[in-house]
Subunit: 473 residues, 2 copies
């Protein structure tokens, strides 16, 4: 802010305050002259608003949990209770991770580099059957949330067991989550039958609906593991409460053949036959759409998560994401679980997303940086049905804001912010994170939970997991 | 170290000292009872020695520029002038980046997401022709070296212009470099003709030969840009002085067709016809070997650099690295220049190398973590002809050691160090770096150069580059 503006600020602020008075509810804790709670000032603000404005020396003004103004360099600044100096930083919307199994951080690196069915049936499933209990989900989810916040993700979609514990952990760490209670056609760690899981999911929704950070969700696992009728009832439950439904779909090369045995149709057609390809449904992966599947998804209005690093590591195939996007489908970016990635850093995921499709299509113009950055923010928000609340920096949206410190050798020089964000920035460059108006990471330190305690509990459970593995060769 | 050992240490140390006396030259600066200069103690030491030992609670003992002992948890510790507490860290060999154009950090993000020939001919080449001067190379190389050291790379191979300036910058930052003076069949920023460049390369070799950190090298650009006879003479020059030769080879899909016009042969055959596929030659990329090219390279004894992220970003193709390895060719990992990556973080490059080949071959067992970690260390050293000096933690080798702090949420828990190093560790997890026995990064701060000054000079040149771009649409 120039000196001239600094002098004028109180005056201009009073004017702005009057102008905003109808929009901003008064609050007891705001001192007389301050009109906002938090001002993030002086950074390069990458708004992703309708005009994709990038404001050098801009500011984001926050009151309560909402963004009340995004200001360019010359605009007068309102008086704030706290101001964060963002000079030298990119100020971006909090990243949106549209697919994962958060608690699986506890299995990070337990088993790698093996055929996916060996990995699943000989390592992951047996360990989950033995170890996944409420304390596992609570501790693993806390660890995941901390890792994600520290790398700039402010909203994530989850799909696991004992989802009440995931919700408790997420709320405690102070992150936004679309948390899916798994429904699966086999005995699961939390519920022995889909029937019980459906009832549990309904209780879960009732408990968390209306929470400022947690959006409960219903997550039938996949059509190759879960009967079509259970998926239909899961979707009915989600619609009854107006919450999102999520499901793995067209993830496996021979999935259509597997699903056809029980439904007579391939996955996407089977989902379409029960009306599931609708807005509010999130299809994870969609690596193997066949025939007119992409058009069906687009017509129905379902969204998709893209998980390039997990798909590469498990050799699951390359999803035809440019085709899905061209059809108008909302595609968000996801890390998948830490057991198949093994990192929840969405910046690295962006880099991989861009590079994978360029390489796979032999076309360096495929998946340009801005497209990928949108996938990790506003398009991810759209995929979760939350584009009215998150995914961009605009007045009226929830205040989920990330500050990336660009004053490092690896981020020098900067010619284009989108290029830097996708191809050079790493999670560790994130310095400050605001979720729902609250600073949850300040200078790379969590303000909400004791990270040493989070890691100690994870290591404690690791010891239990390891001892359980002992008899395995 | 246990208390018992702590008490016994001076005694045991005297024994060890006597045992090492023939190997370790005495030094004035070592006080009476200290037998080594630096002890890195208490970490998990990933040696990559012949037995691939991993020593929990181990230590690395350094005297002068050399490793004198690698000790397991129970071994007595010699007295050291300085001890670095490595508890909670992975202690690994310094990473080896086998291909890059260091000074191109100054062009990071200048142009992305376009067809490679547009990118090269309309952006990179014109900017280089206008801007690449000694100050550009010095400033850009300093920036690259700082970025690489901070992300755990201790040795890198370079190929650029004004290589004297690159050597000066590298030595100043305190990094090990195999620095290639470019010879190209066109007027270059430093030399107007290959003739002048060959003479310049010889002077460059004479200046830097024998330097403890800098290995001069001769770098004919490629056969599609440089006459075969110039490459032959470049190779003769390299052999005359016993220094490495490096060249881009089989990088472009239609390279064989281009090269056949002038040589009557494809690239690899043409190089073979002049005896260049010999030990001491490093072939960059090798994405498009044809017919018996892989067997030819293996038979000749040349090595290769693999640059997965650059190859993906420019859609250059996927190099058949598993085939090259199966043929016994030494394959090192490389980042290529920052203009086509856009990061010099070799940890992220490892992650991409593993995932790219799994995905490309539809085989999750391809490129396991340990293979990739070897590529970034001992195999990279072998590719540079330096496996007797660097690439593993073993007594007698140069002391190039990196400490990775694993006490972070993203690296918790740890089941397997190789998995963690390849799939989860990022450059920013590097805490301490030792090159040639000297601590050059201590708690993420450079000890050798002022990083603020390095970045400021880079930004100054960026301003010049930008103003030069102005007339371009």
């Amino acid at each position: 802010m120039s000196n001239r503006l600094r002098v004028l600020a109180p005056v201009l602020c009073a004017v702005l305050s009057a102008a905003c008075a109808t929009a901003i509810p008064s609050s007891d804790r705001v001192p007389a002259r301050a009109t906002i709670d938090l001002l993030i000032d002086g950074g390069t603000v990458v708004t992703l608003d309708g005009n994709e404005r990038v404001l050098a020396g801009g500011a984001v003004a926050i009151r309560g949990s909402a963004i009340v103004a995004v200001l360019d360099a010359d605009a007068p600044r309102p008086l704030a209770i706290e101001t964060v100096d963002a000079r030298g930083h990119l100020v971006i919307p909090g990243l949106v991770n549209t697919h994962g199994h958060a608690a699986m951080t506890l299995l990070r690196g337990l088993a790698d580099d093996m055929p996916v069915m060996t990995w699943l049936t000989q390592f992951i499933f047996p360990v989950e059957a033995r170890e996944v209990k409420p304390d596992f989900v609570y501790a693993g989810t806390r660890l995941a949330c901390v890792e994600m916040l520290l790398s700039g993700t402010t909203t994530y979609a989850d799909m696991y067991y004992f989802e009440d514990e995931a919700a408790r952990a997420t709320a405690e760490v102070g992150m936004r989550g679309v948390l899916g209670q798994t429904i699966i056609g086999f005995p699961a760690p939390d519920y022995a039958t889909p029937e019980l899981a459906l009832a549990g999911a309904e209780r879960f929704i009732a408990t968390w609906r209306g929470h400022p950070l947690v959006v409960p969700s219903v997550a039938p696992h996949a059509l190759y593991t879960t009967p079509l009728d259970v998926v239909r009832r899961s979707h009915a439950l989600a619609r009854k409460y107006g919450v999102p439904m999520q499901i793995h779909a067209a993830e496996i090369a021979d999935e259509d053949e597997r699903v056809r045995g029980s439904t007579g149709l391939g996955t996407i057609r089977a989902l379409d036959s029960i009306g599931v390809l609708a807005p509010g449904t999130l299809l994870h992966h969609v690596i193997w759409p066949r025939e007119d599947d992409v058009a069906r998804i687009a017509k129905g209005g379902a969204a998709t998560s893209h998980n390039p690093e997990s798909n590469m590591k498990t050799a699951a195939g390359v999803a035809p994401i440019p085709d899905l996007m061209a059809a108008g489908i909302a595609v968000g970016l996801g890390t998948d679980g830490a057991a198949s990635n093994n990192s929840l850093d969405l910046f690295q995921e962006m880099d991989s997303a861009a590079k994978l499709h360029k390489s796979h299509r032999s076309d360096a113009t495929a998946m340009p940086a801005r497209t990928v950055f949108r996938m990790a923010t506003i398009e991810g928000a759209r995929a979760l049905g939350m584009a009215d609340r998150i995914g961009s920096l605009e007045a009226g949206k929830r205040a989920d804001v990330v500050l990336v410190d660009t004053r490092t050798p690896g981020l020098t020089p900067m010619y284009d912010p989108y290029s830097l964000l996708v191809y050079a920035v790493k999670g560790a460059d994130v310095r400050t994170v605001v979720v729902d108006g609250k600073i949850v990471v300040r200078d790379r330190r969590l303000t909400t939970v004791d990270v040493e305690d989070v890691m100690a509990r994870a290591r404690g459970l690791q010891a239990r997991i390891r001892s359980g593995l002992a008899p395995t060769p």
